[in-house]
C-alpha cells in the first residue's frame, strides 16, 4: 500500500495550551513552556495537567523558555523508511535530538542541522532556527543548529 498521493482525513486537537505554544512559534518566534506551581517542573510543550502532581495547569502558568538548549539524547538515523504522516520516504541521514531548552525540564524532540558525529553529541549546545514562513506547526522550527 502507498499513500503518497492520498490525503489523510485526520484532524488532531492540540488543546488550548498547545495552540498557544504554536501561536507563539508562528507569530513571535518564541518558545514557551508551562511551570507546575506544585513541583516547579517546566514542561515543553505546555500541557493542561502535571502528571507528577496531577494538578491542573492554566494558561497563567505558561512561561517563556529559551530558544537555546542542550542535546539530552540523540541519534543519526540512517535507515530509510516511509513517513506514515506523508507517505513519502523520510530523507536520511538526519539527526533526531531531544533538546532540553534552557529553563525547561522536559525535552523538545526535533531535528539538528548536522549529521556530523563529531558535532552530534549528548551535551552539545544548540539554538532553534525558525522558518521564514511559519504556519503554526512544530516545523515552524526548521531545526536546531549546533553551536
Amino acid at each position: 500500500m502507498s499513500s503518497g498521493e492520498a490525503s489523510q482525513p485526520f484532524n488532531w486537537s492540540v488543546g488550548k495550551h498547545g495552540s498557544y505554544f504554536l501561536q507563539q512559534l508562528r507569530d513571535k518566534r518564541k518558545i514557551v513552556g508551562i511551570k507546575c506551581p506544585g513541583c516547579q517542573r517546566v514542561y515543553v510543550p505546555p500541557r493542561p495537567v502535571c502528571g507528577h502532581c496531577f494538578k491542573g495547569l492554566t494558561l497563567d502558568d505558561i512561561i517563556p523558555v529559551s530558544d537555546e538548549g542542550t542535546v539530552y539524547v540523540c541519534t543519526i538515523v540512517q535507515f530509510g523508511f516511509v513517513d506514515p504522516s506523508t507517505g513519502i520516504q523520510r530523507p536520511v541521514p538526519y539527526t533526531w535530538a531531544f533538546v532540553k531548552l534552557d529553563g525547561a525540564d522536559t525535552c523538545l524532540t526535533h531535528f539538528l542541522d548536522s549529521t556530523d558525529p563529531e558535532k552530534v553529541k549528548v551535551g552539545a549546545r544548540v539554538k532553534a532556527v525558525f522558518e521564514e514562513k511559519r504556519t503554526g506547526n512544530l516545523m515552524d522550527i526548521k531545526h536546531f543548529a549546533v553551536l
Binding site: 539530552y72 541519534t75 538515523v77 523508511f81 504522516s85 524532540t109 549528548v122
Partner: protein
C-alpha cells in the same frame, strides 16, 4: 488477597521472518493447540481467554473478534489487551488477574504478531503524538538509539559492550529451535572474538548511530499461548507448576521528551515492587534465571542495573565476566531473547512462557542450572519506556 495462580502450559510457534504458510488466525491456532497439548487440556477446559497484539501493525482491528475460531474463543469470555511492546506481559498479567480473582479456574493468554504483514517502523511512529513527535521520530530503532547515546555518554560504554550483549543473545538462540535467528557461524567461537568480528564488520550496517544491524532485534512472525490455573487445579495439571509469586507494572509519560533517559524508571519501580512482594533482598543471588525483554543490545547493559542486579554503570562488567551467560550466576535469556526473535505482540508473553519452562525444568537444550530453578524473572517493555514484570517460582508462594 487473591487466589494463588500458576502457569501450567506453554505453547509457541517457530518464530520465523515470514510465515506465509498461515494467516494470523492459523498462526494463533498453532500456539493455542501447542499450549493445550502441553498442559494435556482441551479447549473445553479453558474458562476465558485474553489475547493481544500490536493491533495497528497488520492494519486489522478487533483481533479478539476475527481470531475467535483460531484462539478457541467461540462462546467464551474473551478480552483483548494491547499495550504496545508490553502486550505479551500485560496479556499474562490480565490472565493472572482473571484467575487470582477467583472468577475463573483456567485462563488462556495469547500473544501474536505477523510483522511480515506490517510496516513496523511506520506503524510504530503512529503510536506517537501526531503533532509534537511524529514529524521527527525514526521508529523503534531511533527510539532506542537515543537511550544508548545517553548510556554511552554517562558511563563511557562502547560499541564492544553493546556487541557483547548481542553475542550472548545470539549464542543462546542456537540452543532454541523456536528462535528466529540462528547464526550458526558463531558456533564454537569465543565471545570476545565474536565481538571483534561484529564490531569490525563492514557488512554490519549502521541503522541509527550507535545502533547497527547486530544491535537490533529482528522482525518476526510468531505466536505464543500460556495457560494459567488456580491453586487446587494447577497441581493436577502440571507436575511442576510455575507459580506466579508477584507481578507489577509501571507507566510514566505520554511524550518521549519527558522520559528520564538516565534510568529506566518504570522497570526499576516495577522490579522493586515485585521484589518487595516476593521478599527478594538480593536479586542477583536469589533469582536463578531471567527472560528479559531486551529489544536492543545496550538495554542488556543498562536495564539490568535498573532491575537491581548490579550498581549503576556496572552492567558491562557483569556481561564481560560471563555472569549472565548460560553457565553464569544469573543466566539471562537462555532462549536467545528478543534480539533473536521479535514477534512483537508475542514477544513479552514468550518471556513469561520461557521463564515458566525454566521453573518447570522443561526448557530442553536451553535449560539452566540442571533444571534446579527456584525463581525466574520475566519482563516486558513498551515504547515510552514503560515496564511489566512477572516473577515465577517453583515453590507455592506464601
Amino acid at each position: 488477597m487473591g487466589k494463588r495462580v500458576a502457569i501450567v502450559g506453554f505453547g509457541q510457534t517457530y518464530q520465523r521472518s515470514s510465515r506465509k504458510d498461515v494467516n494470523g488466525v492459523e498462526l494463533i491456532n498453532e500456539a493455542v493447540v501447542t499450549a493445550l497439548a502441553d498442559a494435556e487440556l482441551t479447549i473445553r477446559d479453558i474458562d476465558a481467554i485474553v489475547i493481544g497484539n500490536m493491533d495497528h501493525f497488520e492494519g486489522i482491528n478487533y483481533v479478539d473478534m476475527w481470531s475467535a475460531e483460531g484462539s478457541g474463543a467461540v462462546m467464551k469470555p474473551v478480552i483483548k489487551v494491547c499495550t504496545g511492546g508490553t502486550t505479551g506481559t500485560t496479556v499474562a498479567m490480565c490472565a493472572y488477574y482473571h484467575v487470582a480473582s477467583g472468577m475463573f479456574d483456567r485462563v488462556l493468554a495469547i500473544g501474536w504478531e505477523k510483522n511480515s504483514e506490517s510496516d513496523t517502523t511506520g506503524a510504530i511512529i503512529t503510536a506517537f503524538h501526531p503533532v509534537w513527535e511524529r514529524p521527527t521520530l525514526g521508529g523503534a530503532v531511533a527510539g532506542l538509539a537515543i537511550e544508548a547515546s545517553k548510556y554511552m555518554h554517562n558511563y563511557g560504554a562502547t560499541e564492544r559492550d553493546g556487541a557483547r550483549v548481542a553475542v550472548r543473545e545470539r549464542l543462546h538462540a542456537l540452543n532454541n529451535p523456536y528462535a528466529h535467528l540462528h547464526q550458526e557461524w558463531m558456533k564454537g567461537i569465543p565471545p570476545e572474538k565474536l565481538v571483534d568480528l561484529i564490531v569490525g564488520s563492514e557488512q554490519n550496517a549502521m541503522l541509527a548511530y550507535p545502533l547497527r544491524m547486530s544491535d537490533m532485534c529482528p522482525r518476526t512472525d510468531g505466536a505464543a499461548a500460556v495457560i494459567f490455573a488456580a491453586e487446587g487445579k494447577a497441581e493436577k495439571i502440571a507436575p511442576v507448576p510455575a507459580w506466579v509469586h508477584a507481578t507489577a507494572n509501571r507507566h510514566n509519560f505520554v511524550y518521549a521528551g519527558d522520559v528520564d533517559m538516565d534510568r529506566n524508571t518504570t522497570i526499576a519501580e516495577a522490579s522493586k515492587a515485585v521484589f518487595k512482594k516476593a521478599g527478594v533482598k538480593e536479586p542477583l543471588k536469589e533469582i536463578d534465571v531471567c527472560e528479559l525483554y531486551l529489544p536492543y543490545s545496550y538495554a542488556g547493559l543498562k536495564w539490568i542495573e535498573d532491575i537491581g542486579f548490579c550498581a549503576y554503570g556496572e552492567g558491562p562488567r557483569l556481561l564481560w565476566d560471563g555472569v549472565t551467560d548460560m553457565d553464569g550466576e544469573l543466566p539471562i535469556n537462555p532462549s536467545g531473547g528478543v534480539m533473536s526473535s521479535n514477534a512483537i505482540g508475542a514477544t513479552a508473553l514468550i518471556r513469561v512462557g520461557e521463564a515458566a519452562l525454566q521453573v518447570m525444568g522443561r526448557a530442553g537444550a536451553r535449560q539452566v542450572k540442571g533444571g534446579d530453578v527456584n525463581l525466574a524473572f520475566a519482563t516486558g517493555f513498551g515504547g515510552c519506556y514503560w515496564g511489566d514484570i512477572m516473577l515465577l517460582g517453583k515453590k507455592k508462594p506464601a
